[in-house]
Amino acid sequence: MNRFAAFIKKEFRHILRDRRTVLILFGMPVVQVLLFGFVLSNEIKNAAIAVLDPSNDAESIALTNKLVSSGYFRLEKTLNTTAELEPAFRTGHIKMAVVFPPDFAASQDDNTREAPATVQLIGDASDPNTATTLINYANAVIADYQLEKAGAAPGVPVVRAETRMRYNPEQKAVFNFVPGVMTLILMLVSAMMTSITIAREKELGTMEVLLVSPLKPIHIILGKTTPYLVLTLINAAVIVMLGLLVFGMPMRGSILLLAGECVLYMFVALSLGIFISTRAKDQMGAMFMSALGLLMPTMLLSGFIFPRESMPQVLQAIGVIIPATWFNPVIKGIMIKGVGLDVLWKETLIMVAMALFFLALSMRNFKDRL
C-alpha cells in the first residue's frame, strides 16, 4: 500500500509541478463555460432590418411598428426602391428586409381578389442560422398581427396557438451549454490527459522501470488514473457551481445522483484513455488519437452543438457509441427536469456497459503491449 501511495504522490507532484497542465486542468473549464454561456448564444436581439414600404398606409406602418417593438428587430434603414436592397445587404448593414406591396391595406380588405396580401421577407443567408432565426421571428410576429386583425372581424374562426416552453421557459442556451461543456471537459481531462500521461511514460522509458518494479500493472494504472479522477471530480463541481451561481441553472434532481453519474462517465473516459495509451506510441500520437477520436465526436455528434435528429443516419449511428450521447441527457434530466434513475436507467446501464467493456479491453491490451 505504501508503494502505491508513493507512486500516487509522485503523480500529483508531476501534475502540479507543470504550470501548463494546471492551467489546462482548471482554467479551461471555467473559460469554456463562461465563453459558451455569455458569448455564444442562439438568441438574437435588435437585428438590423430595412423596410421598403411603397404603400405607406396605416396597416403597413402598424405591422412595421409591431416588428420593431418585438425587440428582435431594429429599423436600420427605410428604403425607397427595390434597387436599394442589394447594396444594403451587400454592405452588411442589414440582416433582413421587409418589402410591402404598393397597396397593402387595400389588398387586405378586398376579399374578392385572388392573391391575398403579401409581405416579402428577405434574409441574408450568407449566415443561414441567423437568417432562419430572423425569418422565423418575423413570421411569428406577422402571424400574431393577423390573429389580432381576424379577432376584430366577427365570423372568422380563429385558432390561437399558446406555447409554453417547459423546464426552460426563457429558452436560455446556457441550459444546453453547461451540460455539453461538462461532457466535453470530463472527457478531455479524463481520457486525453490520462492517455498522454501514460504514453509519456512509455516514450521516456520510465514505464519499463515501473513494470520491472514490484508495482503490479493494476497499481500502475490506478496510480496514473486516480489523480485525474480526483481532479476531474473537482472540475465537474466547478462547472456545476458556475451553472448554478452564474447562469441560474436549476438543480431540480439529486446532486448525489449527478455526482455518481459523473464518476461513471469518468470511468468510461478513463478506460478509453488507457486504451488509447496502449495503442499510441508517444504523446503526440495519444493526443491526436484522443482529439480526433474522442473530443471531436463528443463535441459534434453527441447532440451537444447540433441536434442529433437532424443528422444523417450514419452519423446518428456513430453518435450512439459516443459516451457523451448518453451522459448529456442524464445531466439535463437531473439538473433541469429533476428526474431520477427511474427515468435515466437506460442511459446509466449503457454507460456501465461501456465502462466495463473498455476497461476489460484496455486491461488486456495493457498487459500485452507494455
Binding site: N2, R3, A5, A6, F7, K9, K10, R13, H14, R17, D18, L204, G205, T206, E208, V209, L210, L211, V212, S213, P214, L215
Partner: protein, 241 residues
C-alpha cells in the same frame, strides 16, 4: 559461491519466430556478466524474461533463487534495473526521484531519508538535491540512475545498455561504480554493444540468432578465437552465423 541467475533451455517464441532459443547459463554472486549480441539477436527478450516483463514460452529460469514464472513478485523485489533509455523522471527533482523509487520498493521513510543523504554525498550532489534531474549532464544522470537502481539493495542489477550515448571518459567512471557494486557482492548483468566494455566483464556470453554461441571469460574467448580483442571475436562469430 551461489548462482544468482540460472537458466535451463529458456526460450521465447512469438508466433513462428523464435527470439530466444533454449539458452542455458549461470551467473555467480558478485559476478559482472556481459550479455552481448547484435541488435535483434534476442538479448533484450532474454533480459525481459529474467526481469519478469515477459513470460517464457518454455524452459526454466531462476533469479535470486526464485522461479521467474512462479514467483515474479519475489524476483522483482530483489532485482534492480536500469534501461538504455534514461530511467529516472527528468521533470522531478533528484530528491523526488529517490523518494519515489525508495517508496515503490517498499523502503521505510527513515530508510529513504538516510539513503538519500548517503547517496547525495557519494555522488557529490548535496547542493543539487532540489534540482530537476533533467538539468543534470548525461553522465551524472546515468550515475544517479544506477545509484537509484541500487537503492533497495538488490542482489542483482540488470543494466540494459547503460552507457549508450555517453563519452568514453564518463563510461570509465561509470564502470568504476559497477566494479564497486560488484565488490560489495552485487551481481551485475550488463548488455552493451561497446566491445571495449566487454573486456571489463568477468565473463561474457555472445548471442547470435537467439542462441548463446559463446560463453567464457574475455581472455579465454580471445584465445579460442585467436583474436586480438573482443571486437574481432564478435566479428568472427557473427560471420559464422
Amino acid at each position: 559461491m551461489k548462482s544468482m541467475i540460472s537458466t535451463d533451455r529458456l526460450s521465447k517464441t512469438f508466433g513462428s519466430f523464435t527470439a530466444v532459443d533454449a539458452i542455458t547459463f549461470d551467473v555467480q554472486e558478485g559476478e559482472i556478466f556481459g550479455f552481448l549480441g547484435a541488435n535483434g539477436a534476442g538479448k533484450t527478450t532474454a533480459l525481459k524474461m529474467l526481469t519478469g516483463l515477459l513470460t517464457p514460452s518454455s524452459g526454466q529460469a531462476t533469479v535470486a533463487g526464485f522461479d521467474v514464472r512462479k514467483k515474479p513478485d519475489q524476483v522483482k523485489q530483489r532485482i534492480g534495473y536500469m534501461s538504455q533509455k534514461f530511467s529516472l523522471y527528468e521533470d522531478l527533482t533528484i530528491r523526488d526521484n529517490i523518494r519515489l523509487f525508495g517508496g515503490i520498493y517498499g523502503l521505510s521513510n527513515r530508510d529513504i531519508r538516510e539513503k538519500t543523504e548517503a547517496l547525495l554525498e557519494k555522488l557529490e550532489l548535496e547542493g543539487e538535491a532540489g534540482k530537476l534531474v533533467g538539468s543534470l549532464p548525461l553522465g551524472w544522470k546515468q550515475k544517479l540512475a544506477f545509484s537509484v537502481a541500487l537503492l533497495h539493495e538488490p542482489g542483482i542489477v540488470f543494466l540494459d545498455e547503460p552507457t549508450s550515448g555517453v563519452d568514453p571518459l564518463i563510461r570509465r567512471q561509470f564502470w568504476e561504480l559497477i566494479y564497486e557494486a560488484a565488490a560489495n557482492g552485487v551481481t551485475l548483468m550488463v548488455t552493451t554493444h561497446y566491445m571495449d566494455e566487454a573486456e571489463y566483464c568477468d565473463r561474457v556470453s555472445i548471442m547470435v540468432d537467439g542462441k548463446i554461441e559463446a560463453l567464457d571469460t574475455p581472455r579465454a574467448m580471445k584465445k579460442a578465437f585467436d583474436a586480438e580483442d573482443m571486437d574481432e571475436v564478435f566479428r568472427k562469430l557473427a560471420r559464422g552465423a
